[in-house]
């Protein structure tokens, strides 16, 4: 895919196809003429700088250049910045800081402990915390709790107790609740499902593909693969899927496994609502990054060819960008960390991001105490803090994942070029399909 840019407009062109352009500020997508394409400056996905041709340069078409300039200066009446509310309406809870697996790319300290193993969260200390945040919501709003670990199903009784308490507190205030459990599925059985059924949780299942590829990065602590165990656990959930919320299959790809298309094909044989494909944030090898992008292109082509927009949008990444384009919502923040989302570790300390749990400097509270100054520091938009003003993808990317930036560069506001390149490529890929479906 080739790329060109004219100020806040970027255009993409695959071989023998019509160029597709995107207006970064207005979130507008358009098919554009060859003359217009030729009047834009060549660039690449690893380049976030503003570029443009001069009207006097060779190959520039005066009329097309004028059209480009006019479009560039237009301000959309419909595209609006979506601000995260400064009210916490989503919590992640570390039910344990232990895991029965030892995945190679684990972001939780490498072993699910975040460097601080805790077998069981204190339910007694967690209930008042949940109530503390829930009470700040007004009737009709929704409060979400995501149960994390380690592996949260090592202590399912805590999930049930916390959800039961949250339901009672929410119901008294007219607040809705929803629950999500992020699990490796190896411990799912009918007994646990019976315990969790009253809360109809969503499940996010960490699975990297069929067992032979899943096992490459997701061994048990004894070194044996966990793929067969995960599939066995998942089969209990599949059999009772209608009793629970949405099921997402989440795969992580790294140097040891880059077979995204193979994972996608395998996922299609399982009962799930959504798929998520993410990249190992510790990986800096550009060839691995490039292979992941190639695989994602193949997945998108395959999905679109087999099921059109609906199939494409079962993949969370594409669905998210489609939603932003359709809703004309510009995001200035990759996530709601510290704004609408907080994370509570297994010692009841509070952090802005679930991945920062081990970092003392990132702690924003403890028990029922919040550090107002630290939370205030998190209020300004990521795209400002991360110097994204010149990037054409900024209002769809939101500045990227701060934890990923910190992991790669040592500074949460300093982006790694391969993260940005990958993000821009995936957005460009999505824009091509968006134009096809909306033209």
């Amino acid at each position: 895919m080739q790329l060109r840019r004219h100020k806040d407009i970027v255009a993409f062109r695959s071989e023998n196809s019509t160029p597709i352009a995107f207006h970064a500020r207005n979130l507008e997508v358009a098919a554009v003429s060859d003359e217009l394409w030729n009047s834009m400056a060549p660039t690449s996905f690893d380049n976030g700088f503003v570029m443009n041709m001069l009207p006097t340069e060779a190959g520039v078409d005066a009329e097309a250049y004028g059209a480009l300039e006019q479009w560039h200066t237009e301000e959309s009446a419909t595209a609006k910045v979506h601000n995260f509310p400064q009210t916490i309406r989503s919590l992640t809870l570390n039910i344990t800081q232990l895991c029965n697996l030892h995945c190679t790319y684990c972001a939780a300290g490498g072993d699910g402990t975040y460097g601080d193993p805790v077998a069981r969260v204190s339910v007694e200390k967690t209930l008042p915390q949940v109530e503390f945040f829930l009470k700040k919501l007004t009737p009709g709003e929704t409060f979400s709790i995501t149960f994390l670990g380690g592996e949260p199903l090592l202590y399912p009784q805590a999930i049930a107790a916390i959800a039961e308490h949250a339901n009672a507190a929410a119901s008294a205030r007219g607040v809705q609740t929803n629950y999500t459990i992020i699990t490796n599925a190896t411990l799912i059985d009918d007994k646990k499902l019976d315990l969790l059924k009253p809360f109809k949780p969503n499940f996010v299942i960490s699975i990297d593909g069929p067992p032979e590829t899943h096992d490459l990065a997701r061994p048990q602590k004894n070194g044996k693969g966990s793929g067969e165990l995960a599939l066995k656990g998942f089969s209990y959930l599949e059999a009772r899927k209608e009793e629970f919320g949405k099921v997402t299959l989440h795969a992580v790809f790294s140097k040891s496994n880059l077979e995204v298309l193979k994972a996608y094909s395998f996922f299609l044989t399982l009962k799930a609502d959504f798929f998520e494909f993410t990249f190992d944030i510790t990986e800096s090898d550009t060839s691995v990054n490039e292979e992941f992008m190639r695989e994602m292109s193949m997945v998108a082509e395959f999905a679109y060819a087999s099921g059109g927009e609906a199939a494409l949008r079962k993949i969370n990444l594409f669905n998210g960008y489609f939603n932003a384009l359709d809703g004309q919502t510009k995001t200035e923040n990759h996530c709601g960390s510290g704004k609408s989302l907080l994370s509570i570790d297994s010692r009841n300390k509070i952090f802005a991001c679930p991945l920062d749990v081990s970092t003392k400097s990132m702690q924003v509270g403890d028990g029922l105490e919040l550090n107002a100054q630290k939370l205030e520091e998190l209020e300004s938009p990521f795209i400002k803090k991360n110097n994204c003003d010149n990037c054409w993808a900024r209002f769809l990317c939101g500045g990227g994942c701060l934890f990923a930036h910190k992991t790669m560069t040592g500074n949460k506001h300093k982006k790694h070029f391969s993260y940005c390149e990958r993000t821009r490529f995936l957005i460009g890929l999505t824009l091509g399909f968006y134009e096809k479906t909306r033209a």
Binding site: A21, E28, V29, A30, A31, V32, S33, E35, L36, E63, A64, G66, A67, L68, Q70, W71, T78, F84, S90, T92, T142, S144, T146, N178, T180, I182, N202, V204, G245, K246, T248, H250, D273, F274, E276, T278, E309, A310, R313, K314, N316, N319, G320, F322, N323, L325, D326, G327, N333, C335, G336, S337, K339, S340, L341, C401, Y434, E435, R438, A439
Partner: protein
Amino acid sequence: MKKLAPRKKKDMETKKHIKKVVPKKAEVAAGPGGCKPLGEV
């Protein structure tokens, strides 16, 4: 009317080179997802 003429010509030129697509309401609900949607509420 005379004042509007150049603008109309300009708009026609723009439409010749730029065919914008029309957004529509989402047909497929967003999934609960992993990392990012945790904070999207």
